[in-house]
């Protein structure tokens, strides 16, 4: 991805904003997936961290599913590149979308008679409608956990009722039964530990989107009881300001994080700040959604949709609060290992 590609993401955002509600209801349009590919958004592995994050932020501000496709497609190509050149070529090297399945219920490689066979179940996998290949993570291979790249046509996909968010990616259950896997498609386990993750852009963008949508809705909102203009309520005004201040803090920390990441100077403090951005952005969004009362529960409310998607991004393992904060404490205190004591 280049800076031009990041700008392309911002350019796509305007059109994607208009289709976000339909996408959430009916699934991600094939032409949008193609537009993401053409914009270079699946070729992220060589780009600076800031370019990756800013692309996801631009998409996350308006359409969670688009940010998810870009983040997943980019991560898949980066991982395939580390697995083997042959595997990278097979998945299209970023010219097409490749998806990722993580957190299996069970997944095992069996080596016998010179062949390697895969069995496993991944309960919630998104983007299958627009991918030919999937990276299946969390596979037990003897005493190791690895990832495996497989053609989706070899797996069984079934409907999976998913309420969490980013519904436009159409989450499905994926099952592998004695699929033959060539060695060049076996790679290391995906890194899900606390680390700097360009998805932080989607988190910030998602929270900014909540703020924008909430503000628009509140300007026009009349209270269900009493028929008053909600914008005139002092507590509503004050909470809006508090969330705005939260997001301003997030943006300041985010800018510093991008600079440190691009300069190769990220440290435990940068990692801690990333987790802090996520928590603060969530607090800003939570405050606004709660202010909407029962209206905030409605599935068709754009603020609710944007919040659902944000929540999915904020749940990424790389944003783990405990790990990030304890690591910073260890760095300050000069404790090298992560052994625990109360």
């Amino acid at each position: 991805m280049t800076n031009t590609a990041a700008q392309n993401a911002a350019g796509l955002a305007e059109a994607f904003a208009k289709s976000a509600a339909t996408t959430d209801r009916s699934g991600y349009p094939a032409e949008q997936a193609a537009q993401l590919a053409q914009a270079g958004l699946f070729k992220t592995h060589a780009a600076p961290f800031s370019v990756q994050a800013e692309g996801l932020r631009a998409l996350g501000q308006v359409c969670g599913a688009s940010a998810w496709f870009a983040a997943t497609g980019g991560a898949a190509v980066a991982h395939a590149a580390k697995t083997s050149a042959e595997a990278l070529a097979e998945i299209g090297a970023g010219d097409r979308f490749c998806t990722i399945a993580s957190a299996p219920q069970s997944a095992t490689l069996t080596r016998s008679g010179g062949g390697i066979r895969l069995d496993g179940v991944w309960p919630s996998v998104g983007g299958l409608d627009h991918a030919e290949w999937v990276i299946l993570d969390g596979v037990r291979d003897g005493d190791q956990i690895v990832s495996v790249i497989a053609p989706i046509s070899a797996l069984k996909a079934s409907d999976f009722l998913y309420f969490g968010g980013v519904r436009g990616v159409k989450w499905r259950k994926l099952e592998a039964s004695a699929i033959e896997i060539p060695p060049h498609r076996i790679g290391a386990k995906l890194d899900a530990s606390a680390r700097l993750d360009p998805l932080i852009g989607a988190v910030l963008g998602g929270a900014e989107g909540v703020y924008t949508l909430y503000t628009t809705a509140t300007k026009a909102r009349i209270s269900g009881v009493g028929g008053h203009a909600v914008a005139r309520f002092t507590q509503v005004q004050a909470r809006l300001a508090e969330s705005h201040a939260d997001l301003k803090v997030c943006r300041a920390l985010y800018a510093a994080l991008l600079s440190a990441a691009d300069a190769g100077e990220a440290d435990a403090e940068t990692q801690r700040d990333q987790a802090y951005i996520v928590r603060t952005a969530m607090a800003a969004a939570n405050r606004l959604l709660s202010q909407m009362g029962a209206m905030g529960l409605s599935e068709t409310n754009p603020v609710q949709r944007q919040y659902r998607d944000l929540r999915v991004f904020a749940s990424a393992p790389s944003f783990n609060w405990d790990a990030s904060f304890a690591a910073f404490g260890r760095a300050v205190l000069g404790v090298e290992d992560a052994s625990r004591a109360a």
Partner: protein, 395 residues
């Protein structure tokens, strides 16, 4: 909770009903995902609640019900919410509507329960284009009402409305044959309550099936002529809002229980040997337990006030509003502390904690525990300013 010991040798006893709720729990938990997806309680769940007697607690004794004191349903609601918040809401909050009917005229009571005492009575409180015209022997009702929980299974709906040119509100009791249901309940939490919009068009409601809000809330309403429980005869304002606390408390406990299970399983980032996780679960458990104690104390005082028929001082009424609202907030704080520390378990459909949490967030949007409304109005009452909560305006 002292209320459970004051039921005058009833059979079944309140503890019997709570045990019945507990026994239903695993079945409800197994159905919880389906309940959410259907956006309504499955028929078999309603039948299970009826069979266990869990909707009879306020039905008059003279008609075969249990006519118990306030608070029983809250403990039932708490118990059920540990398994399925939507079922808890129907059993506790919607089930409490029997008390409204028990305060209405004996004829209205007979209409509702003449064929069966196992009946769902829904309400319509949030009005949309409602009008009421006087007619011979009653009223002609038109309009729509949002958020009518459990209405798919309701035989009756109590619709709140004002007679045209009169700002005072009344309840109008309307049978299933007279109202329509709009399938508009698509929400992120409490989906299983099926709180859809109901509507009526030129529906005649006889006068005996109408009760003014003033009569409904005051001591000795029409129903007190034939029912003698405090729920049927005492000031109904005493109990305002507290029924919500059972499902909310139990809903927070459900989150706590699920988080504890995740820790015990060693889910990613949730480790029983990590002091951060231990501190987190301890703090959340303390918050949720404190919320429960606050709720129990409030309900005990409400019941004692009803039994003694002593006027509750204004300062205590204000405090009651603060306490029920703060109890709900403590529940959310405790649950949020846990859920915000999770990664994929917080969003994956096959992890029940995410549904319990979404349900909890849905429940606290109910106006009875709405933070801004209750705290601001309670504080206004401290300065004798007019409020939107009628019970706080009286001296």
């Amino acid at each position: 909770m002292t209320i459970l010991a004051t039921q005058r040798g009833a059979s079944p006893s309140p503890l019997d009903l709570i045990a019945a709720a507990e026994a239903l729990g695993p079945k409800l938990r197994a159905r919880a995902a389906e309940t959410e997806a259907r956006r309504s309680l499955p028929r078999e769940t309603i039948d299970d609640l009826f069979a266990a007697g869990l909707m009879r607690y306020f039905v008059p004794r003279r008609l075969g019900g249990y006519e118990m004191d306030w608070g029983v349903q809250i403990q039932i609601g708490r118990t059920l919410a540990r398994y399925c918040a939507s079922t808890s809401w129907i059993a506790c909050v919607v089930g409490s509507h029997s008390a409204y009917v028990a305060r209405m005229s004996p004829e209205a009571q007979d209409d509702v329960w003449k064929d069966s005492i196992d009946v769902v009575i829904s309400t319509g409180s949030v009005m949309r284009n409602v009008s009421v015209a006087e007619a011979k022997g009653g009223y002609i009702l038109n309009g729509r009402w949002s958020f009518s929980s459990g209405v798919d299974h309701a035989s009756w709906v109590l619709m709140r409305a004002s007679i045209t040119n009169d700002h005072r509100q009344s309840y109008f009791l309307v049978p299933r044959s007279e109202f329509t249901i709009e399938d508009d309940w698509y929400v992120s939490g409490m989906s299983g309550t099926g709180s859809k919009t109901v509507g009526v068009k030129d529906t005649f409601v006889p006068a005996y099936r109408v009760i003014s809000m003033t009569q409904m809330m005051a001591p000795n309403p029409p129903g007190a002529a034939v029912n003698d429980s405090v729920v049927s005869s005492a000031s109904f304002r005493l109990f305002a809002g507290s029924a919500l606390l059972g499902p909310i408390w139990g809903g927070a406990e459900a989150v706590l229980n699920e988080y504890r299970a995740l820790m015990a399983q060693g889910a990613a980032g949730q480790d029983v040997e990590d002091p951060q996780c231990l501190l987190r679960i301890a703090e959340a458990a303390a918050e949720i337990a404190t919320a429960g104690r606050l709720a129990e104390g409030l309900i005990d005082r409400q019941v004692q006030a009803a039994l003694s028929a002593v006027k509750v001082p204004k300062a205590e009424r204000i405090s009651n509003v603060f306490e029920r609202t703060y109890s709900a907030r403590l529940c959310v704080n405790g649950a949020s502390r846990l859920v915000n520390s999770l990664d994929t378990a917080a969003i994956s459909s096959d992890a029940p904690i995410q549904r319990y949490y979404r349900d909890l967030l849905g429940m606290v949007q109910q106006i009875g525990v709405n933070w801004d409304r209750n705290m601001i109005n309670g504080a206004k009452a401290m300065f004798d300013l007019p409020t939107d909560i009628p019970d706080l305006n009286a001296d």
